[in-house]
Symmetry: none
Subunit: 225 residues, 2 copies
Amino acid sequence: MSELLLIDDDQELCELLGSWLTQEGFAVRACHDGMSARQALAAQAPAAVVLDVMLPDGSGLELLKQLRSEHAELPVLMLSARGEPLDRILGLELGADDYLAKPCDPRELTARLRAVLRRSHPSAPTTQVEVGDLVFSPVRGVVSIDEREMTLTLSESRILEALLRQPGEPLDKQELAQIGLGRKLTLYDRSLDMHVSNLRKKVGPHADGRPRIIALRSRGYYYAL
Amino acid sequence: MSELLLIDDDQELCELLGSWLTQEGFAVRACHDGMSARQALAAQAPAAVVLDVMLPDGSGLELLKQLRSEHAELPVLMLSARGEPLDRILGLELGADDYLAKPCDPRELTARLRAVLRRSHPSAPTTQVEVGDLVFSPVRGVVSIDEREMTLTLSESRILEALLRQPGEPLDKQELAQIGLGRKLTLYDRSLDMHVSNLRKKVGPHADGRPRIIALRSRGYYYAL
DNA sequence: AGGAGGTTGTCGGCCGTTTGTCAGAATAAA
DNA sequence: TTTATTCTGACAAACGGCCGACAACCTCCT
């Protein structure tokens, strides 16, 4: 249930990997250049980063170096177009945790990601998100409110986690769909709304009756405190 | 049921040895470079290390030296591409517990590993895992609940042990397969489910009727307290 | 104020995937 | 060869996600 940040200028590849990785249980965000990657990282640190060596606005290695200095613990898995051995060495020396040559087998990518995450999280205490009276355990997908406990599906978990991480701040539907469903919303796609609806049903409103998840028309959803 | 760390840049060999050693009753993790090996060691110390002299990011001898200073007791068995006598001497001087030339006979490897482990673990207390009313002795593969005792097969033991080590925390099916079967799951592979099914049958449910091993759809299995 | 057009909430059903389990085959151990 | 263990289909059942449909709603325009 970890959140990944995909940084690669190839948008198609991103979407492909994104939907694969989502199916594998990750929550995925994607950036296509160093600039937006920096912003995404500043906004919210993911559990791991998949980084392409080649980026439109400068080398991925540059980004890696900077990333290392700001997020020392953050695991990074690097990708390169052809298995340039030089890049590989540079990447690993600069602190990438693993390295993969493109085109890469998605299965191998997930395997290595899991390995990298396992290594970096040796005995992470059960991470759980607490917001108000609500406690959420992403690994098990269980929300507890007072004495009540309810189990969420994978998509629901990803969506709720994303919302809980920034209570009060609305999250764009597109982005939420990317994180929760691993794809962009198409016209007439009600899946995300469906999930939100089910979430509301499962989690219920606040003690005083206010809804917990609120839609901001054409701006997305947010979790209300 | 000891856990090994395999450090060798040859991934194929690792998988091969990994599955052999798993069948021999070891739990196996593998790293392909010094960097990740260091992290893996820091994350969780194995019972022994199998270390290749040649690593992509520096000599295995370097790693050995460092390893020795940090884990004095940890048995290390070294491998070298060709039986370079110099390496052998260096390796043993730096504190490797044994030395083997590649290509090596898996049977010889297991034999020496057991020897090395026996030496280092002169009187290891019978480790057993206790969770709730259940007591499990991995070495013998016996679970006891109240007065009842049942014997598990090797695969069952490894799977149950992995689950018991983190009660309540789900373990991904892929990881569980790696631990229990020594390989990855392929499409339509029901082996793991089979083992879990058999485990449930052997061990039975909790006293109050709740199942002990629970599947979280697309998130894996966990042992319920 | 009235209405058009787009957005959101939800129901119900369809469908593909995951899981549980049986029975028999294949494989390894004795 | 016997025996124990693991793996392979095969099938059913449960589950989660998606889509069509429709109502309710909000915004903005006239």
